[in-house]
């Protein structure tokens, strides 16, 4: 082919110019598409992120929405500093583990973080309203939150914990509404929010070895001890491995000599009470027989226990307004169903030792499920969000029927015996609310070493139509019956004296 006179060579400049022009049109189209991506597709998530300067500026200029308890008491409000910029003021230290803080310098935590978009007023409820926001006089609409918490109960729970570290969860088993979510020690959120004291308070609270910033009710995980037996009972009844009448003939002898499982001896120390009696499920629950529950766990197997625990919310963060730690029966990875390493671990887990770790909120949900006839209600803190555009009420939600009503009645009966029974009341001193049939289970979580065990109690009342479920954990509080049980009874009594409506 000759080099001269090819077709392209004859094309006039104007044709090439048109091609380059077309290329530029395409290039500008790409820019338009890029702008569309950031301004439409990614608009909502980027512009409402806590790192967006508009969000930060809104927090500086616009007072955040108020937070109220179930009685309308304002728990979080605003003041203005010398420059006219608002900052948060909190009503009571007992609420700090729930509400958290909103600080100009240290960000947000707790509900202040979870509901930051609503409280600061940048939440985008409706795309059309959002697009037209520029035409409104005040661009931000801070929303108020109404909580299901009762401040008097919350304060009483914190006071009851006294100088002990621990947590209290109280909720309405019928709705899942949380009435108290206390954690001790707590901190002064107002001091962190106040620009004048923020730095000092922040440094102090972070240096405190008691970890006051850890909300123990939701993010603390603890060995449960005997309160976990309720999960074992539920799993066994549900799978059919256990009934109310299930007995283990070898149990009395094993109480005296220990139960040998794969060469490992499980001992228990309550035989003076029952003296050789072969116990059924309610009786074994009443006297908190470890041997019975070890045998029950082995009989129902890891699969049934694991399945029940998962339905109750173990092994995943709970669906809740605040972040929660996950509860577990085992570290997993073992060959047995449910991930247990061997029968020894399974037997230990069945009465709440081994590698079991739970949050107080999770154990409150176990009590709540039993109280509510086997129907687990989603735990709920925020019941209403209200702003300029009106009030949104957040309805309670079910998480499913975990256990049949018939099987649940057996667990109820067992838990009632554990509080009201002749032997049971020795283990759950003071848990019974005077004049109101009360059900529950204490726990004494052995930690190894020389420290005092964690003291647990979970329960509910009244037995027939429960209105309140409770979980109490006192770190190193000793036996469940000596520390957690009386506190639970006292708080439930306060509930019936001041809160109960029907």
């Amino acid at each position: 082919m000759t080099a001269v006179g090819r077709g392209t060579a004859r094309r006039p400049i104007s044709a090439n110019v048109a091609q380059v022009g077309a290329a530029l049109v395409v290039a500008f189209g790409v820019i338009a598409a890029g702008a569309g991506y950031w301004q439409l597709v990614r608009s909502a998530d980027l512009s409402s992120s806590p790192d967006d300067p508009a969000v930060i500026a809104a927090a500086r200029d616009t007072p955040r929405g108020l937070i109220e308890d179930r009685h309308g008491t304002v728990l979080a409000s605003n003041k203005k500093d010398a420059d006219g910029e608002p900052y948060r003021v909190y009503k009571d230290k007992s609420m700090s583990p729930v509400i958290g803080y909103a600080s100009r310098y240290y960000g947000t935590a707790g509900l202040e973080r979870a509901y930051n978009a609503q409280l600061s007023g940048i939440a985008r409820s409706d795309p059309l309203a959002e697009a037209l926001r520029k035409f409104q006089a005040t661009p931000y609409d801070p929303q108020n939150l109404t909580l299901s918490i009762s401040l008097p109960l919350q304060k009483a729970a914190l006071a009851g914990l006294g100088s002990d570290r621990g947590a209290v969860v109280m909720l309405d088993p019928r709705t899942g509404q949380v009435l108290a979510l206390a954690s001790n020690p707590t901190f002064d959120a107002s001091a962190i929010a106040d620009p004048a004291t923020a730095q000092e308070a922040w440094t102090a609270v972070n240096a405190d070895p008691a970890q006051p910033l850890l909300p123990r009710a939701t993010l603390g995980t603890y060995v449960p001890g005997s309160v976990l037996k309720i999960v074992t009972a539920m799993g066994g009844l549900d799978s059919g491995a256990l009934t109310a009448a299930t007995k283990f003939p070898q149990q009395p002898a094993a109480e005296k000599n220990g139960l040998v499982v794969s060469g490992f001896t499980i001992k228990d120390g309550h035989h003076p009470f029952t003296d050789g009696t072969v116990l059924d499920l309610p009786d074994a629950t009443e006297v908190s027989c470890n041997i019975y529950y070890a045998l029950a766990g082995l009989k129902e197997g890891g699969g049934a226990l694991d399945s029940m625990a998962r339905r109750l919310g173990f092994y995943a963060p709970l669906p809740f307004d605040l972040p929660t730690a996950t509860s577990q029966l085992t570290n997993g990875g073992g060959p047995l169903p449910g991930g247990f390493l061997d029968d020894v671990e399974l037997a230990n887990a069945a009465y709440g030792q081994g590698e079991t770790l739970v949050t107080p909120l999770q154990m409150a949900l176990v009590a709540s499920t039993v109280a509510n006839g086997g129907l687990l209600m989603k735990p709920q803190l925020v019941t209403a969000i209200s702003g300029r555009s009106g009030t949104t009420t957040i309805a309670s939600q079910s998480m499913g029927q975990v256990l049949s009503a018939a099987d649940d009645a057996v667990v109820k009966q067992a838990m009632m015996q554990a509080v009201e029974g002749k032997y049971g009341r020795l283990f759950t001193t003071g848990a019974a609310v005077p004049g109101i049939p009360t059900a529950g289970k204490s726990g004494t979580a052995q930690l190894g070493g020389t420290g005092e065990p964690h003291s647990w109690f979970i329960g509910f009342a009244p037995v027939d139509h429960p209105q309140i479920a409770i979980a109490v954990l006192v770190e190193h509080g000793g036996r469940g019956g000596s520390r957690a049980s009386p506190l639970a009874g006292q708080l439930m009594k306060l509930f019936f004296d001041t809160e109960a409506t029907s």
Binding site: A3, V4, G5, R6, T8, A9, R10, R11, P12, I13, S14, A15, N16, V17, A18, Q19, V20, G21, A23, L24, V25, A27, F28, V30, I31, A32, G34, A35, G36, W38, Q39, L40, R42, S43, A44, D45, L46, S47, S49, D51, D52, P53, A54, I56, A57, A58, R60, E130, A131, L132, K134, A137, P139
Partner: protein, 491 residues
């Protein structure tokens, strides 16, 4: 006289016949309405922010009046001079410049200050002064330039001058933000690379038009590739390499990218050879990889582009903040003056007035405003390329095309950088960004485009036979110009 409005009485002492420019006058009226509306909106936003009810005021009546008056003055000067230049370019550029002026009025005035004779001028005042000067340059070039020989004949002189300017900058430049990009002359600092882009286009247009037929019709074969003859490409490549090298030494990536793309596209327009594009893109990839491997500055820019969120408070800060600004804008924007939230007395994006006006406008005018601004740039490009396609000869066609490309490619590079489509480079958004060098250089571009667009200018010289050393040394005798309508269309 009364029947034909175009035939106004001639101005007796010059013999120039005034000629109405209806289209331009209508468009300038629209521009004025849009800018006044923008300034009213800005004023209302200020009043709302101050806590009062908005009234029908203008935020900066004096500045806007001066700007619109000068824009009208340039229009009227062309009317009086009777020039038949393009009537869309000036309003389009006037609108872009006006948007820039509104943005500078809206930004904090102390972002840039200059004290002359005891009086301190703020951001908008300085920008207005440069805009007025730019409009005067546009008008002057459009009216005064009646011959292109001063560009056509001295292309090598221009090239040498441009490179000299760059070398001066490297040797005697002033450091701004750690980069030596500016030359200081008295109270004024300028960025020579802005001027250099115009000089580059003038040189390329001259060289390519002179050697066009040879570049098209002779081949250098490398395997399956057919390339233009090497000897004719050598001076051009040298020019490109020198410009590129100096720019890389100065770490001005935006200008380097602009020069390279304009060079490549202009060679393609002149020759129509796809192989030049392929080779150019290969060179670009190889060069890019080499620069990435060897120059830390380049590596940083590319890494930020790939993942700005890995260092959101440090290196990625500017880019992320720009994306947040676009996101806050949404479809219709926050309104002029209502965006760009200030935290602790600082605007969300550093260097917003020079490097990120596109993001600022994206926030305050929304996607709608962004599309309108992109549309205005496309209008400028379309008019420029139209002028190129209709030009009287190859030199004017290539000059007009190159000048349009300079504006279009530069707008693309910085807009795409703002949107994280390509790595961010620190070049200006033409006509909108703050800065004298950029405004004046782009005024040269528009002024020259207007001058070329006039059918009434002096007809180009007849095509000359081959001359100068490269052909005698390496090539065969030229066969004369084969492209373009060489015949003049003088009245």
């Amino acid at each position: 006289m009364t029947v034909r409005p175009a035939a106004l009485p001639p101005i007796p002492f010059t013999g120039i016949r005034p000629r109405l420019r209806r289209r331009e006058s209508v468009l300038i009226a629209l521009v004025a309405i849009a800018l006044v509306a923008g300034d009213i909106s800005l004023s209302a936003t200020h009043e709302i922010a101050a806590g009062g009810p908005p009234t029908l005021g203008i935020a900066d009546p004096g500045g806007l009046a001066i700007y619109l008056a000068v824009l009208l003055g340039v229009h009227l000067a062309q009317v009086l001079a009777g020039r038949r230049t393009d009537q869309v370019l000036l309003p389009a550029v006037g609108m872009l410049g006006g948007i820039g002026l509104l943005l500078m009025e809206r930004l904090p005035q102390d972002l840039v200050t200059q004290t002359i004779g005891g009086r301190t001028f703020g951001l908008a005042e300085i920008q207005l002064a440069w805009l007025v000067l730019a409009l005067v340059i546009i008008g002057t070039l459009a009216i005064v330039v009646r011959s292109d020989s001063w560009l056509r004949l001295y292309k090598y002189t221009w090239a040498v001058a441009g490179i000299g300017l760059l070398i001066l900058t490297v040797l005697f430049g002033v450091e701004v933000n750690g980069v030596r990009l500016s030359l200081r002359l008295g109270p004024i600092t300028g960025q020579p690379s802005e001027l250099l882009k115009v000089i580059l286009v003038v040189f390329l247009a001259g060289y390519l038009s002179e050697n066009r037929s040879l570049l098209i019709e002779q081949d250098t074969r490398i395997g399956p590739l057919r390339l233009p003859p090497l000897p004719y490409l050598a001076p051009m490549l040298a020019m490109w390499a020198v410009a590129l090298l100096v720019v890389i030494v100065q770490q001005d990536l935006g200008a380097a990218l602009l020069f390279f793309l304009v060079f490549l596209l202009l060679v393609y327009i002149a020759t129509g050879r796809r192989s030049t594009l392929v080779i150019g893109l290969l060179l670009f990839v190889v060069g890019g990889l080499l620069l990435y491997a060897t120059i830390a500055h380049v590596r940083t820019r590319v890494d930020i582009w790939l993942d700005p969120f890995s260092d959101p408070a440090g290196a990625g800060y500017q880019v992320i903040q720009a994306l947040h600004a676009f996101a806050r804008g949404g479809l219709v924007g926050t309104g002029l003056g209502a965006g760009l939230p200030v935290v602790s007395g600082r605007l969300p994006i550093p260097e917003i007035q020079t490097d990120f006006p596109f993001a600022a406008l994206g926030e305050e005018l929304g996607l709608a405003g962004i599309l309108a601004i992109l549309g205005l740039y496309l209008v400028v490009i379309e008019r420029g390329l139209r002028i190129a396609a209709a030009a009287a000869d190859d030199f004017r066609a290539l000059l007009a095309a190159g000048l349009s490309l300079v504006v279009g490619v530069q707008a693309f590079i910085i807009a795409a950088g703002n949107l994280k489509l390509i790595p961010l480079t620190g070049i200006t958004l033409p006509f909108i960004s703050y800065g004298g060098s950029s405004l004046l250089a782009n005024a040269l571009v528009v002024g020259l485009l207007l001058a070329i667009s006039d059918r009434g200018v002096e007809s180009p010289p007849p095509p000359r036979p081959a001359r100068r050393s490269p052909r005698r040394l390496f090539g065969r005798p030229g066969r004369g110009s084969s492209g373009g309508a060489a015949a003049g269309r003088a009245p």
